[in-house]
């Protein structure tokens, strides 16, 4: 009914290959973007910005970066948080060494450093795959976090060993640091996330994305048809680490405001891996759905008892929260092992042929 595609004729190859061949998809996206760009900023409170909108976007971006590597190119990585850390520390060093630098450019540029580190730690992927590669990336995780702790130059010899975001402005408007307003930070994050998402969608649809998918599905077959595996795997590591690094810089500069090395430890890597898996590996939209479930839902659940006026201790709420989110993860994975994105894909297909079941 809503998703009826009858009457939408494609008269050129270009139209057939468009990003959204079905008009309703484009309309839906426009509505979502309108919400993100206009309606949320107009209505959201400080709390919503800081605990829902900004973190969900940043986590989605980090998961998107991981998804390129794991979902599209098939290389399992457990080092996401460490690569985020590289982005964050690179951005911090650039900002403190060159205070005149435009913060947004610094954030975008910090991904280059994490891309370099990512490629270096991606080299083992040429020889090993699957769980063995996961162990190799785990080494990156341990090594980099250790480096963030021990290399005092990285945090400017700060006694506490933590990095702290200074007040940064662009043309007099604070975009980072304690003086920045949430709405500015939200727009910066949203802009960068939109830009990188668009880039990733197009990359994964293009030549590079197809080589990645071929590598993922069967690397020997891919090699036989002439795909350079080294190039394919290392570009996947580079692009993925770039996106993850930018997400890391956003994570510290646009949201947390301060970071200690152990913030970038394994729990964060796992959290992002869960977002990617529950959202759906090999999908772009899935990352957003996964982040809403893993990052947003606990926050909302925490508010429920208070809003309903149920007198319950906050520690109990926390326990309940963990139980509910945990069981929801299990539930969604049983209902649809390929993640929330696949769930949406099925719903959409059903809607298109509705009311006829076949």
């Amino acid at each position: 009914m809503l998703y009826r595609t009858a009457g939408q004729f494609k008269t050129s190859y270009q139209a057939d290959q468009a990003l959204f061949p079905v008009r309703q998809d484009a309309v839906l996206l426009a509505v979502i973007l309108a919400f993100a760009y206009v309606i949320f900023p107009l209505t959201a409170s400080e709390f919503t910005f800081q605990t829902l909108l900004i973190p969900i976007l940043i986590y989605s971006l980090a998961a998107l970066g991981l998804n390129i590597l794991t979902g599209f190119a098939g290389q399992l990585s457990l080092g996401t948080a460490a690569f985020m850390g590289v982005g964050a520390y690179a951005c911090y060093k650039m900002i403190t060494l060159m205070p005149w630098m435009n913060p947004i450019l610094a954030i975008l540029f910090s991904g280059v450093f994490s891309a370099g580190v990512g490629v270096a730690f991606g080299i083992p992927s040429l020889r090993i795959k699957g769980f063995y590669l996961a162990i190799a990336t785990l080494a990156a995780q341990f090594f980099l976090v250790w480096l963030f702790e021990k290399w005092a130059w990285l945090y400017n010899y700060n006694a506490s060993g933590a990095i702290q975001v200074p007040n940064l402005d662009i043309f007099g408007v604070y975009v980072a640091g304690p003086l920045a307003s949430s709405i500015t930070q939200y727009y910066v994050v949203l802009g960068i996330v939109t830009l990188l998402t668009l880039l990733c969608i197009n990359l994964t649809r293009g030549n590079l994305g197809r080589t990645w998918k071929a590598t993922r599905d069967m690397d020997i077959a891919a090699e036989l048809i002439g795909i350079n595996l080294m190039k394919s795997k290392l570009t996947a590591f580079a692009v993925s680490s770039y996106v993850v690094g930018v997400a890391g810089a956003l994570f510290v500069f646009m949201w947390r405001g301060a970071a200690e090395p152990n913030l970038f430890d394994i729990p964060l890597s796992f959290q992002i891996l869960f977002i990617a898996i529950i959202g759906g590996l090999g999908s772009v939209m899935g990352n957003y759905l996964g982040a809403i479930l893993i990052v947003g839902l606990p926050v909302v659940l925490n508010l429920v008892p208070e809003t309903l006026g149920i007198p319950i201790k906050s520690a109990t709420v926390e326990h309940l929260n963990i139980m509910i989110v945990g069981s929801l993860i299990v539930f969604f994975l049983i209902v649809e092992p390929h993640g929330l994105a696949q769930l949406w894909r099925l719903i959409r297909e059903k809607l298109i042929i509705w009311p006829f079941p076949h």
Binding site: S160, Q164, R256
Partner: protein, 430 residues
Amino acid sequence: MKNFAKLAAAAVVASITAGAALAEGLYTPNLAYRTGPFAATGIPLMNGQKDYIEMLNARDGGVGGVKIEFEECETGYSTQKGVECYEKTKGEAIVTQPWSTGITLQVLPKTNVDMIPILAPGYGFSPMMDGKTFQWAFNVPSGYWDGASMILQYLQGQGDLKGKKIAFLHLDHPYGKEPLPLLEANADTMGYELLPIPVGLKEMQNQSAQWLQIRRARPDYVVMWGWGAMNAGAITEAVKTKYPMENMIGVWWSGHDADLRLVGDKGKGYKSISWSFPELESQAMADIKKHVVDTGKTLSNEEEMQGVFYGRGVVMSMILAEGIKVAQDKYGVAEVNAEQLRWGLENLNITEERLAELGMSGMVAPFSTSCSNHTGHSGGWMLEWDGTKFVKVSDHLSPDTSGYADLAATKAAEYAEANAPWPVNDSCGG
């Protein structure tokens, strides 16, 4: 449709009353952690804090006739949850009690903008003692540098430190690194050799590598800055390696009864510097028992209430309540706001007489704050584990603040510069 209208009306009424309920009283949220890896050390402190406030509410109807709404927001010691709690509570809150160094670091730069005082009793960033720079932060009654200074003083009392070797076993985390600048600066003047031994967050429970190093280096003293599982790990490991317990000294967060009860008699002689002491016979504790425990409102138990940590939680809430009272007296209003409470915390004067009035003599040393001194430097006592409980083994020790006043001023200035534009209160004299 009729039903719908009724429902809508009910919802409106409910939301109005809910809003009103929040606005009433003094809202002092506590970013507690009763879950997660640090819960074991958190729960007794949170219980002490909560029980004292509940006792005030039950006995005196709050402070100055206004009930204190002491709500806990669970963080699980996670910085992310902490910031979520801060954002959730900051609208109505008159104070923030961040409870972890990570959360304190995050919240500290925001306080100048949000204008909510941070009350961080005995933790947080040591240079916070500089009230000119950190106008909204209070780490009363003692900071980590005070603690390190008192420990050094105590050790000097045991004999000259010249040529001695001190191992500094600490959590490799902003918290554990806090006293390092002071210990390093004193190493030259006092002539001891400092051997910093970091314990990573992942190695807290298995410190065999660190203790091997200690066994090899044979330090004369081990000074410990540990938290959570690290304390129990270090103490059991020390017992295993037969390190002389009387030469091991912890900061106040490393003096948890439950950790030492694990080793019992073998832990005899272990020391911990502390700015609080649980006076079980005091009037305040008796009132808590009468108004909170006997009415079944407490979450604590008999054993926990005798511990150092529970008593410390009680002292923390006393400081908050006193801050509120001072602000009420000055401004003549019962429902003080965040700005007024800031003034109150800045003008605390907890004298021996006041402590006696509160029924808390001996639970904390007298101290006072001023606009340039946000710590108070109460000093404290050296406590020693006698096999079943902690006892005082020293007279009151006062930190030698002159030794690091310059250091604090430099660090505070560095902080202000890194966070420019940062308002500094130059109008305040002494």
